[in-house]
Amino acid sequence: MKDNDDLITRREALAQVALLLGGAISAPTLAGALDAATRRAWTAPPQNWAPRTLDARQLELVAVMAEHIVPQTDTPGARAAGVHRFVDTLLSDHYPTPERDRFLGGLADVDARARSRQGKTFVECAADQQLAVLTEMDEAAYPAAGSDASRAPETWFFRQMKELTLVGYYTSQIGATQELHPSPFGVYRGDIPYSSVGRAWS
């Protein structure tokens, strides 16, 4: 995937069409409509789940990075929401092979960075060392406004990882119903005080 202006223009255009065709991008739904069995299935650890693309070390690396991006606060974070499992599913069932390989290459690069700075893998690093690596990647991936620094191709991975973490988290049951709330079905109100809701719709 090339990151050029053409693609950005087209993506924006498509996003606008999605908006005007109903804004059904995140497909939020009513938590109250879930039956008890579904709720139990969510709280239980997934049975017989095994990654299909990531190996155990890569899976843990994704889980640790995702938890740094969306950590546990007063609500659960990315790991509890199963973002790492979602990433494995996307890599297995959705990503074209070259893009999947590029993502796996990005994971290897994270470990290489950790090794060159700390002499150990990312997962083996202390939390503050991990944060330092991710902060450096974040700053390279999102140059400060007004700066001339163009985004180097290798910064693709962190943006991708961050986007996947956000999608995986906020479309999970935890993210969509605990951290945020789905917009309830029933009526449409076009202008309500934000204070009456107090958080974004998922």
Partner: protein, 567 residues
């Protein structure tokens, strides 16, 4: 051999209407559908599924991704995603050849694209019906607004349309249920645009979605993604509306999985006598016979059947003595417009997923001083405002607790709009049969279609005028967009608006058109075409309600002619 009174080919928006009208008028009617059956409610398998129950979280399945392997064409549209892919055709089942990029989006099921359509419904006006005559592009429509107005009303009362009356000559009002509400951002932009441009109007979209109960269908509950199917029947589809009405007569027979190969023509009687079908599962041929045939197989599907119905009398396709069958293919051109951010309103929010946006009716070339010299005809805008959601986090620096706290609140407001522009009818935009055949022994369509100077010139104004209005309304960071790339690249090529029209046009003169004022073939009196193939021009408004009104009107005429013994 069973003979029916009428055969309707296709079960989408126009096929459903033809079946309803013909059966209600007493005709034993056979509806033939190439795709699988889709049962109302039962087969809406993703309806109301929460995001986390969809393995890919309702990913947009773009071309080249896993999950889209069987849909290399359908995956081009932004509407193709994990939750609705089962309502699009697997492209291998109906391949076609593109001379230049032309995206042919197809349903392949009972209900056709009525399950996944955009639901925006706007009446044409005499500005549209007289356009060809006025500027000389295409042939004159054989009807005017007065001919179709009562049929618009008839259709609107049955399908249910919510919207606001504006009293505009170029966008006639209809029989409306109460409109949906604009949100705070849209209201602000509306006020700004209408203050700066008193002749322009911002209104809520007129949609075939109920805001009041109608015929056992319930008002919209604002869950959001209509295109997964709607068990409450809140939006118009064949399943929710016309098929139940047709079935209630006891006179409808529906055969899915039946691919129409060609029509059977009796040269002695100069009548169509039946339909040749290939079973989609067994590949076995079958025939059905009837006194009158309605082709409602989608614009290109219909024309392909006619082109493939060859006989000594019509060697180049049935009812094609004019030679224009297949020509004058059109689509709306869109994906040119602008967006910007709205400052303030941070204590304003909305609730519910409104499956609708705003509409700005055409304001160019109305015959007044807004007329342009660089292009003819005009465009309207669709758009909307919203507050940014959690997705904005992927575009900004920062992560961790701070990011999570920030995304707990919605972001700033933004407003976007994209134009839908009229396309001129051109002879060199056409379809023909290729030498190659598909799995059913039917020649593939080869499509030749490009935008002309008029469309490309209009697009510049579509983008610039959108930006001008957003800036006048006080929006910041206004940016234009135009997805058209040219040079044969995908972006906003013909077909992409899924409003393909023409190729069997209506007209006054049998020498230059295929159909008369009642959608009846000039050459073959018991053959009717009422889907988008019949269109002689495109207007700039969404076409489906016009197809519906033309269909109902054509059915009325056909039954009268049957009674008079003329068919």
């Amino acid at each position: 051999m069973i003979t029916y009174d009428a055969i309707v080919i296709g079960s989408g928006i126009t096929g459903g209407w033809a079946a309803k009208e013909l059966t209600e008028k007493g005709l034993q009617t056979l509806m033939i559908e190439r795709g699988r059956d889709v049962v109302h409610r039962k087969d809406y398998v993703t309806e109301h599924k929460p995001s986390w129950e969809l393995p890919l979280r309702d990913a947009r399945l773009s071309v080249g991704t896993k999950g889209a392997e069987d849909y290399p064409i359908q995956a081009r549209t932004g509407q193709f995603r994990e939750s609705n892919k089962h309502f699009f055709i697997k492209d291998g089942k109906n391949p076609y050849i593109e001379d230049k990029p032309f995206t042919w989006i197809q349903g392949d099921q009972v209900g056709g694209k009525s399950l996944i359509w955009g639901r925006q419904v706007y009446r044409w006006s005499d500005l549209d019906f007289a356009a060809n005559l006025k500027d000389g592009h295409g042939v004159d429509w054989p009807i005017r607004y007065a001919d179709i107005a009562p049929w618009y009303s008839y259709v609107e009362r049955f399908i249910g349309v919510s919207g606001e009356k504006l009293g505009l000559a170029q966008l006639p009002d209809g029989e409306f249920q109460p409109p949906m509400e604009m949100n705070a951002g849209e209201k602000l932009v509306k006020a700004g645009i209408e203050r700066a441009f008193p002749d322009r109007h911002v209104t809520i979209g007129r949609v075939a979605i109920l805001t009041r109960p109608l015929n056992g269908r319930l008002p919209c509950h604002f869950c959001g993604p209509c295109e997964r199917g709607c068990s409450t029947g809140s939006y118009f589809s064949s399943q929710s509306s016309t098929l139940p009405a047709a079935r209630a007569t006891g006179k409808l027979t529906l055969v899915p999985n039946s691919v129409v190969h060609s029509l059977i023509y009796d040269a002695d009687k100069n009548r169509v006598t039946g339909v040749r079908v290939v079973d989609a599962v067994t590949k076995q041929p079958r025939e059905y016979h009837a006194r009158v045939v309605f082709l409602c197989a989608s614009t290109l599907g219909t024309t392909r059947v006619l082109l493939n119905s060859q006989s000594p009398r019509f060697p180049n396709g049935l009812a094609n003595s004019s030679g224009v069958l297949g020509h004058y293919l059109m689509d709306h051109h869109f994906l040119a417009g602008a967006s910007g951010s709205i400052e303030g309103l941070l204590d304003h929010y909305y609730q519910g997923n409104r499956p609708n946006g705003i509409y700005i009716p055409r304001f160019r070339n109305l015959g007044d001083d807004a007329s342009r010299r660089d292009y003819v005809r005009g465009f309207g805008y669709q758009g909307g405002a919203s507050r940014q959601g959690w997705g904005r986090g992927g575009g900004e620096r920062g992560f961790g607790v701070e990011l999570k706290r920030k995304l707990h609140d919605p972001g700033t407001w933004s407003m976007g709009m994209t134009g839908f522009g009229e396309c001129l009818p051109r002879e060199d935009n056409y379809v023909e049969l290729a030498d190659k055949t598909d799995d059913f022994g039917i020649p593939l369509l080869k499509i030749h279609c490009t935008w002309g100077d008029n469309e490309l010139g209009m697009r510049k104004d579509m983008a610039a005028s959108a930006a001008e209005m957003l800036e006048a309304a006080g929006c910041k960071n206004v940016r234009t967009h135009d997805a058209y790339r040219g040079g044969g690249q995908l972006g906003a090529e013909p077909g992409f608006a899924i409003h393909e029209m023409g190729t069997a046009r209506m007209g006054r003169d049998p020498k230059t058109s295929v159909l008369n004022a009642f959608n009846q073939a000039h050459d073959v009196p018991n053959l009717f075409v009422t889907d988008g193939a019949c269109m002689a021009s495109t207007s700039c408004v969404n076409p489906s309600i016009t197809y519906m009104a033309l269909t109902a009107r054509a059915c009325d005429h056909a039954v009268e002619e049957l009674k008079r013994g003329n068919l």
